[in-house]
């Protein structure tokens, strides 16, 4: 029951038009609004300093999200944003949480929203950032802690595309061969590291992420559709012929713009649509 005891003197009236057409605070719960967090002091003796404003949130705690301000001594850490985050974790605040592994742009762990666009922290140089720079976890995903988002659904969508070679022909004695030209068709599609910068930046995936597969999964889907050795193209296309799974893509192309590997998911999706047409819709 809602407590109305503080409203007894109020004249009864219709409430919803007061905020029409936008609900109060855009419908964002009070606890979800980002508060100003802790501002850490400038490290002693530092001459070259970069300021990082970093999103902090622990869903298991009692507090809502906050923005902490860190000052990084650029002469004491490596050149990349990931180096700065590791420097903060080891020298300033050990509770700062983020994913990282390879530190050279091939594992896709450290994807985050840097100055408003998605990129992997290990391939973004500190001297490319604004002052102060803002660091958020990837958008449109539940936060596990700080910069670590829950990507379970994205990996389930990736698995839906069945990213493996499907064959009917019995395995030959040696590898299944492919000409140099056939192999070249996969260039620009096989290199995806599944950082999900693209899917997290896709407005279609924001509105319909439960059903739209998103650019990362569709790029992988095309990588297997385009493979000359694959014999499952029919069923692959069957699984994609859906108004939501594939056709929610409205070629906004945030995906292509944000890919830290320089891939073009927008083109991959266009290729899928072309192949779908060839099949006779």
């Amino acid at each position: 029951m809602v407590d109305h005891s503080d409203e007894v003197d109020e004249v009864p009236r219709l409430k919803w038009p007061r905020h029409f057409p936008v609900p109060r605070d855009f419908g964002v719960a009070k606890g979800a609004r980002i508060a100003e967090g802790k501002s850490w002091p400038t490290p002693e003796g530092a001459t070259r300093i970069a300021t990082l404003r970093i999103y902090r949130f622990d869903p298991d705690g009692d507090e809502g999200p906050r923005m902490d301000t860190f000052r990084v001594d650029l002469d004491d850490c490596g050149p990349m944003l990931l180096d700065a985050l590791i420097w903060i974790k080891s020298k300033v605040d050990a509770t700062l949480t983020f994913r990282r592994s390879c530190r050279e742009g091939v594992c896709g762990s450290c994807a985050m929203t840097i100055d408003g666009t998605n990129w992997t922290a290990c391939t973004r140089a500190m001297n490319e950032l604004s002052e102060p720079a803002t660091i958020y976890p990837l958008a449109n995903l539940p936060v596990i802690k700080d910069l670590v988002p829950d990507q379970t659904h994205l990996f389930a969508q990736h698995a839906l595309t069945e990213p493996w070679l499907k064959t009917e022909t019995p395995a030959p004695e040696r590898e299944r061969l492919q000409s140099v030209e056939q192999r070249a068709v996969l260039d620009g599609y096989y290199e995806c590291i599944m950082c999900f910068c693209c899917t997290s930046g896709c407005p279609s995936h924001w509105w319909n992420g439960d059903r739209f597969l998103g650019p990362a999964a569709l790029l992988t889907a095309w990588r297997w559709l385009a493979d000359s050795r694959d014999e499952g193209r029919g069923e692959r296309l069957e699984a994609l012929d859906d108004p939501f799974r594939l056709y929610r893509c409205h070629t906004i192309l945030n995906c292509t713009r944000t890919c830290p590997r320089g891939l073009n998911p927008g083109k991959a999706i266009a290729e899928i649509k072309r192949m779908m047409l060839e099949r006779g819709g």
Binding site: N140, H153, A156, N208, E238, Y247, R248, G281
Partner: protein
């Protein structure tokens, strides 16, 4: 993005692929391309004295070529509108109201197209 309490696999698969989506997408492209020359034709014709007054307009529309092009324009425009509005409804309406809105959009576009075609034919064959 809401996360229902089912397995991630089940959530991602949903009710499976619906099919027929490629046809919808292609019809949207084809009607859009058809509209380019048809709208240019209409603008060009009206700008060249077709629409100075009622008599001039109905005289202009009576010519068989204009009648046919006008009917094609109405078909393409209302078909394209129905497809596009359905896409918008699918994008932004996440409740079951989507089904009602899409049905309404399609009925309204069919009605609009029918009214336009009947009006064009009436002008073409009467008086």
């Amino acid at each position: 993005m809401t996360r229902p309490r089912i397995t991630p696999y089940s959530a991602a698969h949903g009710l499976g692929a619906a099919g027929h989506a490629a046809r919808h997408w292609w019809a949207q492209r084809v009607s859009a391309i058809a509209l380019v020359p048809l709208v240019l034709w209409l603008v060009w014709a009206l700008a060249n004295g077709g629409a100075t007054d009622y008599a001039a307009l109905s005289d202009w529309l009576k010519s068989p070529i204009n009648t046919i092009l006008m009917i094609l324009l109405l078909i393409a425009a209302f078909h394209h509108a129905a497809l596009g509005l359905q896409t918008i409804a699918e994008d932004y309406i996440h409740s079951r109201a989507r089904f009602a809105v899409i049905a309404l959009v399609q009925l309204a576009c069919a009605a609009g197209g029918a009214a336009g075609i009947v009006a064009t034919l009436l002008i073409a064959i009467t008086s």
